[in-house]
Symmetry: C2
Subunit: 331 residues, 2 copies
């Protein structure tokens, strides 16, 4: 039985039963179910992150847009039902319960009759290979598959690599709701992130200029000591502890006052030997609270690559209270 | 008159005078002077950052090491004198005052008779050009020079570019204290930070692998939206908000739920037009306090390069109290 039907069953039972014990059981089942339903957020996030980009790339932007709004509505109704259950207000529980049930039944229909059939027509083997490889980090749709069950015969294809429009024979096989949309579809997206002499990284593309701007913009000061214990990089811009180009290539021992060289060398040795994964300090300087973190960089095989120093003025962060969401307009 | 002599004068006056008004004046002068002396820290930092690396590179490591310890001692005596002045303990003021005076006189001697003469023999025009160009960001030794007074005829030479040992004719011209040291000098440092296919940045050198490790290690999650409003990069590793490679090249509008697209687009437009330099939000998610910052990247001429998104879990930072310096061993 699907979630939507389950919610409906419990709510109907709750409404019709006149036996207090029986009603208590329905209520308990409903509470358990709502907890499970909160984790739908993860399922939706995966759909949004892994499937939607392919449809958008092909010009089918309306399908993801509508579905995302519906997904938000599902999560909103679940939250309302949770609140009603907390309050124990039977009338509200019934009202919100039916809303959840309807929203879920609608979502299952949209996924099974529109989203997944569309994806199965439009996504090719390389696309599924890409999705499968990302699931290792993003998480699986429902169950973690047995490892190596499916070995794609083609390399992963990411949405940004798709350049052709939807072929006519694929259009024929699409669900009719989607076919209708296609007549007013946007043109396929042909943007390439590899332009402008960008370098390729495991998680994206950046030019040297963009890297420099990111390093300047982030609210932390970064320095890097390489595997030979040399300072080879520091982030540009205003810094808590000033750095200068004259210090590039300098031995890390020489970057610190003689009295603290011992502790610095000890931390780095522990990093190098894999005995330690972090060292933190915090100091008060001119009334500001400065937080300093050292983190070792390592290859996947554990080989030491160097040490990252992060310096952050956390004085103002400590004062943050409450929430200020995207909907606030006070900043 | 030098600082050391001034301190000595005030302390002697304080000791010998029997007139309360006169003593009050000496005390006041001493207090003013101590405030000035605290800023010696900046002068020392510049010497440590700009001059020392050249001497180290040439194998003269003992001179900077000894001097740095002495500089620390100067700052320590100043701090002790400040404490004595706060307490108003005349005997301590005299005792600490004389220590400050002696430490300063010793430092002036070491700078004027050893450090600066040595630097003036060993550093060549390109080295001074490099130091001058760094002073724009690090700050000047004492006064900001009139712009463009000195135009070096050679390009800046940074310590890591020096490969030759000290020539014999330079050794002859060194102060005798340094000449003695040279017999037991280390061999010159020939390490080059440009090795390993490293890319050159305005503030250092990094390989792609090192950049990836830095991005993974820093305690913030970074994403980058390029000038065409596309997500082109996200930092690897555990993240508050999951990202996947399938989202690379995606329009920023499509990366957010339809209900918050409006505010995201408005922020980016304000960044692009130069009307805004930051947007911050904070949310509670599963009991954690998540702090989100958007910062525009711009070229020096103001041209918009893209937007950096920084997400940080600041829950634990908010609990930081007191200090935990390099000398603590409790972590």
């Amino acid at each position: 039985m699907e979630y939507g039907e389950k919610v409906s069953l419990y709510v109907t039972g709750l409404t019709n039963s006149r036996d207090d014990v029986q009603r208590g059981k329905y209520l308990e089942s409903l509470r358990e179910l709502v907890k499970e339903l909160f984790s739908l957020r993860n399922h939706f996030a995966k759909v949004q992150m892994l499937l939607f980009p392919y449809l958008e790339r092909l010009g089918l932007t309306a399908v993801p847009r509508v579905l995302w709004t519906k997904q938000d509505q599902v999560m909103h109704t679940v939250k309302m039902l949770y609140t009603a259950l907390m309050k124990g207000d039977m009338q509200e529980i019934r009202k919100e319960g039916l809303k959840v049930s309807n929203a879920l039944i609608d979502m299952v229909f949209r996924e099974n009759k529109i989203l997944f059939p569309t994806a199965s027509v439009l996504l090719k083997e390389g696309d599924w290979a890409a999705i499968a490889s990302e699931m290792d980090s993003v998480g699986y749709f429902k169950y973690r598959p047995v490892k190596k069950v499916w070995k794609p015969l083609v390399p992963p294809r990411y949405p940004y690599e798709i350049t052709e429009a939807i072929p006519d024979r694929d259009i024929e096989s699409l669900p009719k709701e989607v076919k209708t949309l296609l007549t007013k579809a946007e043109t396929p997206d042909t943007y390439s992130p590899t332009q402008n002499d960008r370098l390729e990284f495991p998680t994206g593309f950046l030019s040297k200029e963009e890297i420099n701007e990111i390093m300047r913009s982030v609210p932390i000061d970064i320095s890097f000591i390489d595997k030979d214990d040399r300072l080879i990089y520091y982030s540009p811009g205003d810094r808590v502890f000033v750095r200068a180009k004259t210090a590039l290539g300098r031995k890390v021992d020489h970057c610190h006052p003689p009295r603290s060289v011992g502790i610095v060398k000890r931390i780095i040795e522990e990093f190098r030997k894999g005995r330690r994964n972090k060292a933190v300090f915090w100091l008060r300087i001119n009334g500001r609270l400065i937080y300093i973190t050292y983190i070792p960089g390592r290859r996947e095989d554990g080989e030491y690559l160097g040490t990252v120093e992060v310096v952050q003025d956390i004085t103002d962060l400590k004062k943050i209270e409450g929430e200020k969401g995207f909907w606030s307009r006070t900043d």
